[in-house]
Symmetry: C2
């Protein structure tokens, strides 16, 4: 079968041939339909994430997949069911790892998980993949074409779940919220603020000149675009307004700390970026004081699991069709990998199509 | 009546005479028994907190009080009931402020509250005080002598409530916890880790040479003393262990950020210090990444309200008598203010006694 992989020492995706996998006991065989491409894939290509599968000289890419069950192989599925796979798997020999045992692999620390298509395990950008049945989430068939958006939206579901939990011991009704970052996930999260989270006033931070398709989408959602070259994150309370909720999806480390100033009293900042080492100066005393005096919180969040995928499916049903259409800027065959992995300003979200339903 | 106050322009407490207050409608008159002295009082004396009551040239000190109802004045209390007052009050003209209206004054932002004995309103270090009935928490009479510990313990109750809430969307059973700071509240919180929170391994950070009474208490509790001059907070995972829970009570701003490194995966740092502006360098990229990749949280917490006082009363009943005895290093009359406000290494917790039951 065809797979899209990155070879050791290379930084671009390659089309390779591999044998079709055989499902082990408890695993279903899934025929892949579409697999989304995101920033993490570009980091994997750039060598920023670690880890080819043990003993392998390549990694099959892709962690945002939708497929159709080809062989249920005794799992709860029927042939033809449309499914979305979760990403984390227990490393060999650690199958009884407590986080997987209790259905919370998203809370496992480094070394206690592999991530398909990212670290230690082949991804889903292949004509077929196998997966334990419990890591396949059923998708309503009408969402098949956009099912590759479930995994990214599940990341927001998890981050918002943690953020809301952190504010659950008192009455908290967020009215203002900002997404830092205007990538696909930022835009979809902004859509959730408007359509599923009941946020009154939503904002999105970017650094793009108009005309720009992401700015158009931000405004069509009903949100306000804030140009980070004109307004720094810690200046928001003075120039725009303070935010009950900040969702950081830029990976720009100063944003994590400026968020403390941007928050309204009792607000929460959900952090999702993974920037790597970078030393800089902060007014740590003022930030510490501000966190305390106004009961603020910073919450880091990574990965997601089945209940977040289920929440994401509901979100996908609630988001307007035009938004989904506008963020998906291209779906490409395996003979168009350059376009699928394009990272320019005209690309928002792409997917690779491995087969059709 | 006698009151202990600080006059404008002065930095030491003074004994003054003031008229006994008359309870307004809905207020009880309370005869004060004891009032604790803490770091906030020293900050108030040093001018670090703001605000004399409007039009006044002095502030009656004291926010950690226990007293006996002298005149219930139509409130739910009976004369002779032992009570502990909460600290925050609505500023005049803001009585319908949403935070007070819903019983969450501890979540009110700056400008929407006064704090008795701290900012904008006279404290309890007076022979009598008045308070709305809903801000008086009944105390079991056997706790009368130590009732001035309820307010400080309520601060820990609130901080732990927020911290546990932030970890409530997944399974979290903290086994290791560290208090940063060996003041009275740090020691009592360490006692709670051991006696009410079910923490397996607890630690307390200080910077004291042995022999030292706080180090003796830490070890008698069954916790481990860590000298911050030998082990930096961000070195804890390598030299001691990583902490599921860190409770910061030093007000030393670098601790707020080093806590991110000290935490175990999925851990939470409760921040309580109020350090003021101080610029320094951090590896913000590594800290941001660490927060995200391991689902960590930083939670600021300030003040407390009735349910936290009620929790604190239960804590006080659960803590061993020897610990309470050892942290209270002196109870002094109003003619011994120098001793009551002593801040040396031999003092852990003092109180001023205004009258006896």
């Amino acid at each position: 079968m065809k797979v899209v992989a990155v070879r050791e020492g290379e930084q671009t995706p390659t089309l390779m041939e591999k044998p079709r996998p055989e499902p082990a006991a408890g695993e279903a065989l899934v025929r892949t339909l579409r697999v989304g491409v995101d920033g993490t894939d570009h980091e994997v290509l750039g060598g920023g994430h670690g880890g080819f599968p043990e003993g392998e000289d390549h990694l099959v890419l892709g962690h945002e997949a939708v497929g159709v069950v080809e062989d249920p192989n005794g799992t709860r599925f029927e042939a033809g069911d449309v499914v979305v796979p979760t990403v984390r798997r227990a490393p060999e020999g650690q199958e009884d790892n407590e986080f997987f045992a209790r259905g919370e692999p998203d809370m496992a620390p480094s070394g206690q998980y592999q991530e398909r298509g990212i670290v230690g395990a082949h991804g889903f950008m292949a004509e077929y993949f196998t997966s334990p049945g419990e890591y396949l989430v059923p998708l309503p068939p009408e969402l098949t074409d956009i099912g590759f958006l479930v995994e990214p939206l599940s990341i927001t579901e998890k981050a918002l779940e943690l953020s809301y939990a952190s504010r659950s011991s008192f009455e908290w009704n967020p009215e203002s919220a900002m997404v830092l970052g205007n990538g696909c996930l930022g835009l979809l999260t902004l859509g959730m603020f408007e359509h599923t989270e009941g946020i009154d006033r939503s904002y999105c931070l970017g650094r793009r000149d108009r005309p720009d398709p992401t700015v158009d989408i931000i405004e069509a959602i009903g949100a306000t675009y804030v140009d980070s070259r004109e307004t720094a994150v810690d200046e928001l309370p003075d120039t725009v307004e303070s935010m009950d909720l900040v969702y950081e999806a830029t990976g720009y480390a100063p944003h994590a700390f400026q968020t403390i100033e941007a928050l309204a009293p009792n607000g929460v900042g959900a952090l999702l970026g993974i920037p790597g080492s970078w030393e800089f100066e902060i007014d740590g005393g003022a930030l510490h004081e501000e966190l305390v005096l106004h009961n603020k919180a910073l919450i880091g969040s990574v990965n997601s699991h089945v209940r977040h995928f289920e929440g994401a499916i509901e979100d996908l049903q609630a988001l307007p069709d035009w938004l989904i259409d506008d963020v998906i800027t291209g779906v490409y065959g395996t003979d168009e990998l350059d376009a699928a992995f394009d990272d320019s300003n005209t690309t928002i979200k792409t997917a690779v199509e491995l087969s059709t339903r």
